[in-house]
Amino acid sequence: MARPRRISDDLARQQADHPAGEIARFGVDEPLLLDAGISLAPFQIAYRTYGTLNAEKSNAILVCHALTGDQHVASNNPVTGKPGWWEIMIGPGKPIDTDRYFVISSNVLGGCMGTTGPASTDPATGQPYGLSLPLITIPDMVRAQAMLVKRLGIDTLFSVVGGSMGGMQVLQWAAQYRDRVFSAMPIATAARHSAQNIAFHEVGRQAIMADPEWRGGRYLAEGTRPLAGLAVARMAAHITYLSDAALHRKFGRRFQDRDAPTFSFDADFQVESYLRYQGEAFVERFDANSYLYVTRAMDYFDIAADHGSSLAKAFAGTRTRFCVVSFTSDWLFPTADSRQVVHALNAAGASVSFAEITSDKGHDAFLLDEPELFAITRGFLESAARARGIA
């Protein structure tokens, strides 16, 4: 496997401490108490905003990103130079219309794009945190976001929107800060990570830790990277984001630049070549330890466990309007997971919409061109905006 270009790799490395876009710094006087029982201070949150906050401060939408996403939702990514990961959804005239709404997106705690994470420099030592950073949970990420939102002078978010791990944050927001969330849109997500998903994450983590260049998590201090391990982790994970039908449609059993098998372990098949490319592209922009931390946060996620094993209790008495969306071919966060959330919201007497969208694109469908998702997002936000009195 070819090693990625170092230039881009260095760009990614710089983002951990000096990200493109805005930074909110929280000093020792504003510590973040983590679920692990440790106070994190100082720390920083890297974020972007799009659109304009109205005078009433009632039109703010927080967009939460997934495992390997970042705050650059609707503007070019500073590392890859590619468009933001949700530009199809967010922008002027788009379903999340930045002519109308003020969109905030921040890098999650434990991430590697400028919010404090294992790749950030520990001010106490001057060295990257590595594994000395306490373990992070989804509620920790959300608490950090709440501090950012407060810093921005916003009392109540008009909406919190996100897919996959972003959807977990949406649900956590609704459970933890019910009076500060007017509407919520959890997409292709679950209220707890399944055993199967924990299993897949463990495969990815073991691939990273099995790479000798991981160096017990100290690779940055020792000037190396577990690129091969991280690439394998990404390849395995990437399969779970697609579907059998999507893989078949895209690649089938077609050969890559050849007419016959080479009788070697070369990437004979297009699907192999594609996965290798995905792995290589990923290691250019993502930190291996961050991958460990963020996958772990997802594994620990279980809202009901924090509320006496009752998901309905987590949302009891909520006045937030919910719109839950799943996709038919998503086997990572199947419709049954979304339905469980919907049943709990029904039991809690919440206002909830739930749509399952027909798509063969698997879990990744939420990031792709799915006109029904756009129509539903637009319609849901539109009706919530009317109720909120947003012009």
């Binding site: 339905r339 039991a347 007497g349 206002s351 739930f354 749509a355 637009r378 319609g379 849901f380």
Partner: protein, 218 residues
């Protein structure tokens, strides 16, 4: 819920025209500002009518994905679900009124569905096609075949309507579940109300569909 009612509605959406007769009857039975659950809400026609005319806080359940997605895109709080399985998740007295419009005949367990409605809602409104209507009776007697009509266009082998009943059958079920009838109306083939003081047999013969407002004994 793909029912005869939904099918009628599909054509009505294409050509904006008169509102379904049973919708108007149902709407009259709903107090303004009520919290309403419409079970089998189709493309949300009734919920929209209730929202716009009565200012209700409306929610819906619909089986068909197309129906749900259209409702949600129009800002209605509708979930993809099944009357037979999903009503169990709602707490007691969660709604002022639970509506089952032209759907009871498509449920697997109409009695269980009705009992859930009476539990979840302080009141229940049920509208259904009357299989005792004289034209359907005539078809069975003269042609010896399962009846079809404009409102019930399916053949026996492809119909989603698996539990047809007559008005009298429904009244029996209401007694079975020990509910109280607060209001009842039968509509003829033209959507006009059948004479109010007529006996049940008359309604059962001339009513093409019926609308009942019920409440459970508490």
């Amino acid at each position: 819920m793909s029912t005869a009612g939904t099918t009628t509605d599909l054509t009505m959406r294409a050509v904006p025209g008169p509102i379904r007769a049973d919708y108007l009857v149902v709407s009259r039975l709903i107090a303004p500002g009520s919290k309403v659950l419409d079970v089998g809400c189709g493309d949300g026609g009734l919920l929209k009518l209730l929202r716009d005319e009565k200012g209700v806080d409306g929610r819906g359940i619909e089986l068909s994905r197309e129906g749900v997605n259209r409702c949600v895109a129009e800002g209605l709080a509708v979930i993809q679900g099944d009357a037979d399985t999903d009503l169990a998740f709602y707490p007691d007295d969660a709604f002022d009124v639970v509506i089952l419009s032209q759907t009871i005949q498509a449920t697997r367990a109409p009695r269980v569905v009705l009992e859930h409605m009476l539990r979840i809602g302080k009141q229940a409104v049920v509208s259904f096609p009357n299989f005792g209507h004289w034209r359907l009776r005539l078809q069975l007697v003269t042609r010896g075949r399962m009846p079809t009509s404009e409102n019930l266009p399916y053949h026996w082998y492809d119909t989603p309507n698996i539990h047809f009943c007559t008005i009298r059958d429904f009244v029996d079920l209401v007694r079975e579940v020990e509910a109280v009838i607060d209001h009842s109306t039968a509509l003829d083939a033209w959507g006009r109300e059948v004479r109010v003081n007529a006996p049940w047999w008359f309604w059962n013969f001339f009513g093409e569909q019926a609308v009942f407002k019920l409440r459970g004994k508490r």
